[in-house]
């Protein structure tokens, strides 16, 4: 593995560790509902501060179940990941194509130079 790839893997491992550590240490155990969303907790806090508050608008569309909701979240992540992957794939392909074209150009240039040199020596030879 190249040094670059090692650093990139290390970055991903760190992110994974940051996500796993709270779960592994059971940091949500003191809660009634461990690892619930912070937005839900904020809603609870609002009703604690102002018990009379009623949300005055409800979402136009609400996923009918937790499963559908997580499917839509996965869709969101997949869309984003797809575009990112397309970008990096395209760049990589372009770079490889350019490198190949350059390689070809160099050999062609070399051929052309050889031909030039031959022509020149030929001409010189003619003059001599």
């Amino acid at each position: 593995m190249s040094r670059n790839a090692k650093i990139n893997t290390l970055l991903l491992l760190l992110v994974a560790a940051l996500a796993v550590i709270p779960l592994a240490l059971g940091l949500g155990d003191h809660k009634e509902e461990p690892f619930a969303g912070a937005d839900g907790e904020a809603e609870t806090a609002i009703t604690e501060i102002d018990p009379d508050y009623e949300p005055w608008f409800s979402p136009l569309y609400e996923p009918p179940s937790g499963e559908i909701e997580s499917a839509l979240f996965a869709l969101q992540a997949a869309l984003g990941a797809g575009v990112l992957a397309y970008y990096f794939g395209l760049r990589r392909g372009r770079r490889q194509g350019e490198a190949r074209a350059r390689g070809r150009a160099v050999t062609q240039d070399a051929d052309a130079e050889d031909a030039d040199a031959e022509a020149r020596t030929g001409a010189d030879g003619g003059r001599d």
Binding site: L23, E41, Y61, P63, A77, G80, R92, R95
Partner: protein
Amino acid sequence: MHIAEGFLPPAHAVAWGVASAPFVVHGARSLIRDVREHPESTLLLGASGAFTFVLSALKLPSVTGSCSHPTGTGLGAILFRPPVMAVLGTITLLFQALLLAHGGLTTLGANVFSMAIVGPWAGYAVYRLLRRYDVPLMGAVFCGAFVADLSTYCVTSVQLALAFPDPGSGFLGALGKFGSIFAVTQIPLAVSEGLLTVLVMRLLVQSSKGELTRLGVLVTSAAGGKQAESAEAVTR
């Protein structure tokens, strides 16, 4: 995590909407101008928006025992400047409000203000400041993304504390309460976002040198040489 639908009183909802609108309009204008002048950067713009899409879909556990998600706005702010992120962030928030019942239309203004305006500007400011003092690129990118993420949720806490001051301890009491829910939860997630942003920036440095140079993220070797020379002159 955004403020849920209907959880801001109408006056607050309208006020944040009014505050956000000019930023989004200005952002849309500069986005259109960018795309017209540099059609070749459309793809990278899309990738920056995609990064926000992925990161704000990832609900991650945190040390507080609750879950929240990063914002992904730091990357685009560093690459394309914050106004562009006002638009890309708003698109992400709209998607979540309309399809996922996450965030909401009445709270869109407030959520746009925190995630698509303050976050990108704060992150960008930190990034530029660090770069000015010759902090290495990846260090500045990490700090910029970290600040963009964390400041978003500090603003969310302030917004809720303004709308729901604690009857006993007032605004500050409520700020403490909402801060402990949003901002503290967000700290490890902001670290994660910083690391992921560094990862993507490293991949971009490998794959898109030309583009990053045009955007001013990478300095050309000539300018870099000049900088090194002047730095030498200063040390001498």
